[in-house]
Amino acid sequence: MAAIACCFLAAALPHVAVAQALASYSIAGDGIAESLTGQPGDAVRGRALVADRSSTCILCHAAPLPEVRFQGDLAPNLAGVGSRWSVPQLRLRLVDASKFKSDTIMPSYYRVDGLTRVGRNWQGKPILGAEQIEDIVAYLATLRD
C-alpha cells in the first residue's frame, strides 16, 4: 500500500541527462522535423521509458501498457497518439509542450531555461536526453488506432 502511494516523482534518479548544451533544433510549422540526435529513435527502448515512472509520463498519462499498474488520468490517454500527431509534432510536444498550449501542465522535457527554483540535482539538465526523446517519439508513433 505504502509502496503505491510512494513518492510521486521524487525518487532520486540516476540522471541520464548530464549537464551539457542542448542539441540545437529548429521548429518549422508546429513541429521539429529533424531528429535531435540525427538518428532514428528505438521504439522498444521508448516503450520501456514511457513505462518507467522516473520518465514521469505515466504519472499523468495512461498508455496501452497493460503491465503498468498505476497510470495517471491528469492527461489524455496516449493510445492512438501516433494517428493524431505526426512525428515532428510529437517531437516538439516532448521538447516543449508549451508551444502547443502556453498554460499546459505538461513539462517541457528538453528545456533548461525559464525555470524557477530547480533543485540542485536537476539544475542545468533537461528532464530527458535527446536520445531518450527520440526513443519515446519512435514509440509514440507506433501507437496508431
Binding site: T104, P107, L115, G119, I127
Partner: protein, 258 residues
C-alpha cells in the same frame, strides 16, 4: 537563436494563461475523503490510529519540567484541554515580537527558549512532533480560523503567490495539481486538494509522524524544485496560505494519510 518565434502562430490558438480558480468553500474536501476505507478506519479509531502514540507522548512532555527554568508547559498553561482548545486551528499566528507569523512548532520552540530556558527541539524530532500533535489534538473537530487576524494578510498573500508559482524542473505550481486537478490521479495516488487539516499526520509512506512542512517539501521535491528550508519564511507563508485556504474546515489531528 534556436527557436523561431515566428513559427508559433498555432500557439496563439492556445488559451491565454488563466488565473487558477480557487476551490469554493462548499467544494472543499479533506484528504480524508480521498482515502480508502481501511485508512479512514485507521484514522477514526483511536486505538488503531498510530498518531495517538504521539498524542500520549506529547501529553507526558506537556507535564515534564524542562530546561534551566525547570518548568513544564503545564506550569504556565495548565490543562491543555482548555488552554489549547482552538489554538492549532488558528496557527500559523502573528508573533508581535518577531513581526512575522510563526507556526505551531516554532511557537513551541519559542516557549522552550523563553520560558523553559531549554534548547529548541530539532525540526521533525520526535519530541517536537509529539508536542505539536498533542496541542493540535485539543482542537480536533474545531473549524480552522487561520487568517482572521488582519496582520497576517501580507504573509498570506506571499504564500498564495508561492502556491501559484510554477517551479522545479517539471515546472508545476501547487495550484496546477491542488486547485485544478484534485479530482484526478497521479499514477496510483489521488491528487487531493492539498488541505492541511490533519497535521502533524501519521503517513503510511513514512511509517512515521511528520509535519505539514515535511509534506510540502515532499511535493516540492516531487516537481524537482529546491525545497524551502524547514522554518523558512517561505515555508511558513505556504503553511499560512494553506490554512487560510482551508478556513472553516475542521481540524483532524492526528490524521492518517497514505
Amino acid at each position: 537563436m534556436r527557436l523561431c518565434a515566428a513559427a508559433f502562430i498555432f500557439a496563439a490558438l492556445g488559451a491565454l494563461p488563466v488565473l487558477a480558480a480557487e476551490i469554493p468553500a462548499a467544494d472543499r474536501r479533506s484528504g480524508y475523503s480521498f482515502m480508502s476505507s481501511d485508512s479512514k478506519a485507521m484514522q477514526d479509531d483511536d486505538t488503531a490510529n498510530p498518531g495517538m502514540l504521539a498524542v500520549l507522548e506529547g501529553e507526558t512532555l506537556w507535564q515534564t519540567k524542562q530546561g534551566d527554568a525547570g518548568k513544564a508547559c503545564a506550569d504556565c498553561h495548565g490543562d491543555a484541554a482548555t488552554s489549547m482548545k482552538g489554538v492549532a486551528a488558528r496557527y500559523p499566528a502573528f508573533d508581535a515580537a518577531l513581526g512575522r507569523p510563526v507556526d505551531l512548532e516554532q511557537r513551541i520552540n519559542i516557549c522552550r527558549r523563553d520560558h523553559q530556558q531549554a534548547s529548541p527541539f530539532p525540526n521533525e524530532s520526535h519530541e517536537l512532533l509529539a508536542l505539536a500533535t498533542y496541542v493540535a489534538q485539543q482542537s480536533r473537530g474545531q473549524p480552522i480560523t487561520t487568517g482572521d487576524d488582519s496582520a497576517l494578510a501580507p504573509f498570506i498573500a506571499k504564500g498564495r503567490e508561492l502556491f501559484m508559482q510554477r517551479q522545479g524542473q517539471l515546472n508545476l505550481a501547487c495550484t496546477n495539481c491542488h486547485d485544478d486537478n484534485w479530482d484526478k490521479h497521479l499514477a496510483g495516488s489521488a491528487v487531493t486538494q492539498g488541505q492541511p487539516t490533519g497535521y502533524p499526520i501519521y503517513r503510511l509512506e513514512w511509517q512515521a509522524m511528520g509535519s505539514l512542512q515535511r509534506r510540502i517539501r515532499g511535493c516540492m521535491t516531487g516537481v524537482r524544485a529546491q525545497a524551502f528550508d524547514f522554518g523558512s519564511p517561505e515555508m511558513v507563508a505556504l503553511e499560512l496560505y494553506l490554512m487560510s485556504r482551508a478556513h472553516g474546515m475542521p481540524l483532524e489531528t492526528p490524521a492518517v494519510r497514505p
